[in-house]
């Protein structure tokens, strides 16, 4: 039995920017709370808490979530206690896995200072720059607005820290933005975030949630974004968007992703099942995760 378990371990392991991950799964930022860590033991290859910002953010007023066909729309508004209190509580996420931290600022300076602060913390293995939250207005700046702004913000962060940097991009103009992030020195790209969306309550005749669509509904859109970006850049890509089953994970890796984030799906099912579906799939096709990457016949 020990032998078999060992085998599963190697079969699932991947390496991301030189960081070994036991499994290719990572919780998507903002979708796993420290209170729920006990439920996900053995599932993930790294930890990734909710985005932190320089100052505390109260977030948006309710309603913040609404259900849609095969998905949900959220408008949380980056509620978080600010980077200092975040770092004080960070040990809760230190469960023996590489620890990635998601960061966002309102200005270039804030991004730079935040990366410097996070880069100085030894517990943190890499920083994911959230350049794509649809639910906050970034002081007039939308960092994912186009390649020029993406390049600028990634360059600032690159100068601020020697830690690996992942740029998390939205799917609008994703290929150009991906090239810009790469050329500015991003070590990996997280593709993608939620898609701007709106829900309306027809009976009350009121807008319900204006925010980002996530969940199974967006999977084929994210899969295309990942595939296209993998064809355009050299750096590793982390897939995010609608991953709901182990087969979905395999599809993202076949499209070229090195690791895959699980977000909304973890609200409706046990992510352990996703991992074991992936393991069964690998058994069936006789491959390891490392072999899957980009292995589409065409």
């Amino acid at each position: 039995m020990v032998v078999r378990e060992r085998k599963t371990e190697t079969r699932l392991a991947v390496e991301l920017c030189g960081i070994p991950l036991r499994t290719p799964l990572i919780p998507a930022s903002g979708t796993l709370t420290k209170e729920a860590l006990g439920e996900v033991e053995g599932v993930y290859g790294a930890m990734l808490p909710k985005t932190t910002t320089p100052a505390p953010r109260a977030g948006n007023p309710p309603p913040r979530v609404a259900e849609t066909y095969a998905g949900m729309v959220n408008s949380i508004g980056l509620q978080n206690p600010g980077v200092e209190r975040f770092l004080e509580g960070l040990d809760a996420f230190d469960i023996g896995l590489p620890l990635f931290v998601s960061a966002a600022g309102d200005t270039l300076e804030e991004f730079g200072a935040l990366c410097e602060r996070l880069g100085a913390d030894e517990r943190i293995s890499a920083i994911e720059l959230n350049l794509s939250c649809p639910n906050v207005e970034c002081g007039g700046l939308t960092f994912c607005a186009g390649p020029a702004s993406v390049e600028e913000v990634v360059a600032v962060c690159r100068r601020a820290t020697g830690k690996p940097i992942f740029a998390k991009l939205t799917f609008e103009g994703v290929v150009e933005n991906a090239r810009a992030a790469e050329s500015a020195g991003a070590d990996a790209l997280t593709i993608m975030n939620t898609i701007p969306a709106l829900t309306i309550d027809a009976h009350r005749r009121e807008a319900l949630v204006r925010g980002g669509l996530s969940g199974p509904a967006i999977k084929p859109v994210a899969l295309r974004a990942v595939y296209d970006v993998c064809g355009a850049v050299e750096v590793p890509v982390i897939g995010s968007g609608g991953v709901t089953s182990g087969i979905d994970v395999a599809e993202f890796m076949l499209a070229g992703a090195t690791a895959v984030q699980i977000g909304t799906a973890s609200f409706v099912r046990d992510p352990k099942e996703i991992l074991s579906e992936l393991a069964s799939y690998l058994d069936k096709v006789g491959l390891d995760t490392a072999d899957l990457m980009g292995a589409l016949s065409s």
């Binding site: 903002g30 979708t31 796993l32 709370t33 209170e35 729920a36 439920e39 909710k50 505390p56 109260a58 977030g59 948006n60 007023p61 309710p62 309603p63 913040r64 979530v65 609404a66 259900e67 849609t68 066909y69 095969a70 998905g71 949900m72 959220n74 949380i76 509620q79 969940g215 199974p216 709901t244 089953s245 909304t264 799906a265 973890s266 609200f267 409706v268 099912r269 046990d270 352990k272 099942e273 579906e277």
Partner: protein
């Protein structure tokens, strides 16, 4: 989020609501809730999210839920033979501080947690009265499960005409108030009870995950900002809420 499949052992109508019973060994505190859905594989896309329901009752072995059919999620639960639940979730009512007699106020399906709460208060020897408010007589049929409870209906067809607060003869005689119902009712209870007595409210906010992960179920608090009603709540001390 891990869901457990359980078989529905009994389903009966209670007024216009439905009561479901299923085997659920373990500890449950009054005011805690479950995320539930009709069984689907591997997930249900239709509806996509599980729905929050208070524990209606629990005797250590068997749990029950009381719910109103509102939309797709409850319609499917209403005819499901197998359901999936994640529980027990959230922080329930604090029963410790004894301060005389307690008033339990429920509005509509908000009566749900009062059943298990009453049972537990009885076990603890805390004297209490139950008051229930409904829209009309057919809905008020659900009061049968609360023998001796005071009652009000909005249309005046049964009990005191008005809200559940109108059914309480003298609110000042109670040292503690526990309430569950639509948020506007809870706000009225808070206003009426005032700051001097222990008042706990079980709030209802839209939920995404139910385990604290999504920050979706935000409730504004006096100390500033929002807290999650699924982890820090759904039961809050009235004075903690910013409404």
């Amino acid at each position: 989020m891990k869901f457990y499949g359980v078989s529905v052992e009994e389903r009966k109508a209670s007024g216009r609501y439905t009561v479901l019973r299923y085997r659920w060994p373990g500890l449950v505190e009054p005011g805690q809730f479950v995320m539930a859905r009709a069984v689907g594989w591997p997930v249900t896309l239709d509806p996509f999210l599980a729905r929050p329901f208070s524990f209606y009752d629990h005797d250590g072995e068997v749990a029950s839920l009381l719910f109103e059919v509102r939309g797709r999620g409850t319609a499917l639960l209403d005819r499901a033979h197998k359901i999936e639940v994640s529980a027990p979730l959230g922080c329930g009512f604090q029963l410790g501080s004894s301060s005389g007699k307690a008033a339990l106020l429920g509005g509509g399906v908000g009566i749900a947690p009062l059943k298990i709460l009453g049972r537990r208060l009885t076990e603890l020897g805390v004297p209490h009265d139950v008051f229930l408010g409904f829209a009309d007589a057919p809905t008020a049929g659900a009061a049968r499960d609360f023998p001796g409870a005071g009652m009000a209906t909005m249309d005046g067809s049964l009990g005191t005409p008005g809200t559940v607060l109108d059914a309480v003869p003298n609110l000042t005689e109670y040292g503690a108030v526990y309430a569950c119902g639509p948020n506007p009712m809870l706000a009225a209870v808070k206003r009426t009870v005032g700051p001097d007595r222990l008042c706990q409210l079980s709030v209802e906010e839209r939920m995404g995950c139910g385990n604290g992960s999504c920050n979706g179920c935000a409730v504004p608090v006096r100390s500033g900002g929002y807290v999650r009603s699924c982890v820090e709540g759904p039961v809050f001390r009235a004075e903690a809420l910013a409404w």
